[in-house]
Each structure stands twice: as C-alpha cells, then as structure tokens.
C-alpha cells in the first residue's frame, strides 16, 4: 500500500511539473498608474512577480526624481535654483540630463528639455490648458536653450544658466524608465518580458515560444484600439510620438501636447505620428519627439544617418513611410482603409 501511495505521488508530481514547466506558462501581469500614465507589464519566468514589483518601485522612484508636476525631486530643485547655483542630483537624473543634452544637440534643438517654461504656459497635462498670447510665447522662447544646462559630472551637479529657465523631462523620462525595467528584468533572471509605458513599448528577448513580439503601430487618426501596421521585434524599444495622444480644443481649434521648441506652439510639421525602433528606449523616446517635430523629410534623413535606429512616419496626408532597415519587417495592415503605404519615394 505504501508503495502504491508512493507511486501515486510520483505521478502527481510529474503531472504538476509537466503543467508548470510548460512553455504555455502564465505570465506575471501588472497595470500601474505611474508617471502620469499607465505602465503595463507582462513578464515570464519564475521571478516574474518580484521583478514586476521591483520595476514598479523603480519607476515610482524615477517619477519622484524627475517630475515637475508634483513638488520635490531633482528637476524641481534644478529649476528652483536656475541662474543661481548648481544642485546635487541623483546619478539617474544626471544620466537622463546627459542623454537629453546629447539628443538636443544631435537634433539641433528640435528636441529640447528646456522647453519647460512654454509647456507650463500652455497648461499641458493640467485640468486647465489654455492658449497663451503671442507676446508671452515670444518672451518665453528666450528661456529655451539646451546649451544652458550646466553639468558637472564629477560632482554630479547640475544647473541652468538663467533664472526662470525650466527643464521638463516629460519627453525622455519614461524612455529611461523603460530601460530600467529591462535592466531589472535581467537582474531577476527574466528572459522574456514586455512593458508598455503609456505607449512606449520595450521588450526583452522573444516571447516564450521563441517568436518575436508583434507590436502594432497605432492608427493616428483615432484613440480606438486600431493599428495601421505591425512590426516584429526582440530586445528593442518601440516609441511613438503623435498629435492624437493628448490634446485640447479651444474655439474649434485643436492643440496637441508636443511643443516645438523653436516656435513655442504645438508642433505643426507634416507628421501625425513618428515611431522610433532602437535598442534603448531613452533614445527612442527623445528621437520620436525630435523626428515628429522635424517633419517627414528631415526625419527620414536624420534617422537614416543614425546607426541601429529605424523609424515609421505617418503624414497628415495619411501616407506611411518606413526607413530602409524596417522595410522587410513592417507589415502594412490598415483595417480603416485610410492609409497609403509608400514603399519607394
């Protein structure tokens, strides 16, 4: 009898092992409201739940350091002491500011984190957005200049040249958070994970069945669950900037949330959306904003000039352009039948 019992337990164990070790394993899932958006994680592996928790904690830390929509943190401190003194910042803040400067310089100021004063003026992301008058904007434009960010790397100190200048990391901090998520997944021994930070998708490895992750590119004419094409990626960040994401309307005119640092108004290029695919999501985040502001021609030339960076651009005329390196990957699939995929130009 005891032997039969033993056999029974052996088989029970086999049963359980078969089920739990299967490639159909259930992922750890989480949805959290952080950094003014929703962070969705899908993580495979035995430490998935701990990894998810660690990522949420890290993102909350990044938000505290880099927000200007709540008091405290490094960026508020830098802004408060602008034109007066350098302030000591966390190594993460230092890294993001260096990245921000690098991409501002690379994009010749079409991306510029010192745009903060103008962003605040528009009340973007607040309950009371407004259209500032022209003289206000012209005055505020004088405070935008990424070269006024002073970085003393050895002392981990940062400052701004002129009192009244405002750094806003809104177009890059979420990108950094995506890279940190991937770093933490790896630390927890995770081989397969997906994280979506308010539209910024970052994936680790392949899906558990070995196939790449299939990422849809949002249809920029709608906020519905609708995409215009699909790309297959592994170990990549896919980040989109578009005029449809957040906007407000005043007197029949629509104002979206991406401010052109050169004009002080919502970017008015010929693009409706700009998607960047590259290794680091911090890079993708900055580059998607920069290319969106540049417009199609400059964006294509700019992205083609960079190594390991690809892009998908959708114009206001509903035309879709894809950089060379993505041509074989991008699958045009438009259920709305509104868009045209321009393969050769």
């Amino acid at each position: 009898m005891t032997r039969k019992l033993k056999l029974f337990f052996i088989f029970l164990t086999i049963c359980i092992v078969l089920i739990s070790c299967s490639k159909f394993q259930k992922p750890g899932l989480s949805e959290d409201f952080l950094m003014g958006t929703v962070i969705m994680q899908k993580v495979y592996g035995k430490n998935a739940d701990q990894a998810i928790k660690a990522v949420n904690k890290k993102i909350a830390d990044i938000e505290r350091l880099m927000t200007i929509n709540a008091p405290g943190g490094d960026v508020n401190k830098i802004n408060e002491f602008a034109g007066r003194e350098l302030v000591k910042v966390d190594k993460d803040t230092l890294y993001v500011l260096k990245k921000a400067w690098e991409f501002s310089n690379l994009s010749r100021g079409t991306f510029d984190v010192t745009v903060g004063k103008v962003v605040k003026m528009w009340g973007i992301f607040t309950d009371n957005p407004r259209v500032p008058n022209v003289s206000e904007i012209i005055d505020a434009l004088g405070f935008i200049n990424y070269n006024d960010i002073i970085i003393d790397e050895s002392k981990s100190m940062v400052g701004l040249k002129t009192n009244g200048q405002v750094i806003d990391l809104g177009a890059i901090a979420k990108g950094f958070a995506g890279d940190e998520a991937i770093r933490l997944y790896k630390e927890y021994g995770i081989k397969s994970a997906f994280v979506n930070l308010g539209g910024n998708v970052v994936v680790l490895g392949n899906k558990p069945d070995g196939s790449p992750w299939r990422i849809g590119i949002q249809n920029p004419q709608t906020q519905q669950n609708d995409y215009i094409g699909i790309i297959n990626v592994s170990d990549k960040a896919v980040v989109t900037s578009g005029d449809y994401e957040r906007y407000f309307e005043k007197e029949g005119k629509r104002y979206h949330h991406i401010i052109d640092p050169k004009t002080g108004y919502p970017s008015d290029s010929d693009l409706m959306s700009s998607t960047i695919v590259t290794e680091l999501s911090v890079d993708a985040d900055a580059l998607s904003t920069a290319t969106f502001v540049m417009g199609l021609d400059k964006a294509l030339a700019f992205v083609e000039s960079l190594d390991n960076v690809e892009g998908i651009f959708i114009t206001k005329e509903n035309k879709i352009y894809v950089t060379h390196g993505l041509k074989d990957n991008f699958v045009f699939e438009d259920e709305s039948k509104v868009f045209e995929y321009v393969e050769k130009r």
Binding site: F11, E31, V38, G199, V201, I215, T240, T275
Partner: protein, 126 residues
C-alpha cells in the same frame, strides 16, 4: 519487484496524468481563444469581471473615483460611454470587442481590458 497490480496502477496513473495534462490545456486555450472576458480594474484592483458573450441585456453602471465614468456593456462588447474626466481618452477609445483591447482612464485610474492572448499583436505603441 513490481506486482501485476502495481503495473495496472502505474498505467492507470499514467493515463490519468496525460488526461489531466491535455484537459488543462484544452480548457486553458479554449478560454483564451473563445471566451471574451472583460476585466474592469480601478486603482489596480479588479472590481468586475464580465463574460461579454454571455451578456443578454445591456448593462450600464458607473465607476466613481476622482471622476465618474459610465460603462456600457452589450453582448460581445464594452465601452466607456461617458466620463467627466478632462482628457476623455477613455470615451474616445469607443468599443472594445477583441481580445487584448484596452480602454484606460488615467485621471480616474481605471482600466478595462479584454483578457487573453491577442491574436495578432502583443501590444500597441501609441
């Protein structure tokens, strides 16, 4: 040494384990492929699960938080009908009817999701 009875038991258990194994995945993939279950969560907590295909009469209810969202469920689909939040992205998202579809209200911190493995894409960049 194994007796005859032991061998019978062995075979019996082996058959049972295989059946359980097959049954588990038939059940699981059956759910993922066919059942459209909408999960409504507020502040990260699931507040309601609805099998959309089993909805006969339309259901309407409110989610109250910092703002108020009105949810409408019909057979096979769900949407945010009305919201007093500032950006109204949740309302603009319109109907959710496919596995993986998602509506988010960031101001009111709530999510509607149709659970399961989506057929065509694993996620969408926006």
């Amino acid at each position: 040494m194994l007796k005859k009875g032991d061998i019978i038991l062995l075979i019996f258990l082996l058959v049972i384990s295989v059946l359980v194994y097959i049954g588990y995945f038939t059940y699981k993939s059956g759910r993922d492929d066919y059942a459209k279950v909408a999960i409504i969560s507020h502040e990260g907590k699931v507040i309601r699960k609805v099998d959309l295909d089993s909805v006969a009469e339309p259901i309407m209810f409110d989610i109250e938080g910092e703002y108020k969202n009105t949810i409408l469920i019909e057979k096979g689909r769900i949407r945010v009908l009305e919201s007093n939040c500032p950006d109204r992205v949740c309302v603009n998202t319109s109907w959710l009817d496919k596995i993986g579809d998602l509506a988010v209200c960031i101001p009111n911190r709530f999510i509607i999701k149709i659970e399961g493995e989506p057929e065509k894409v694993d996620g969408v960049t926006y």
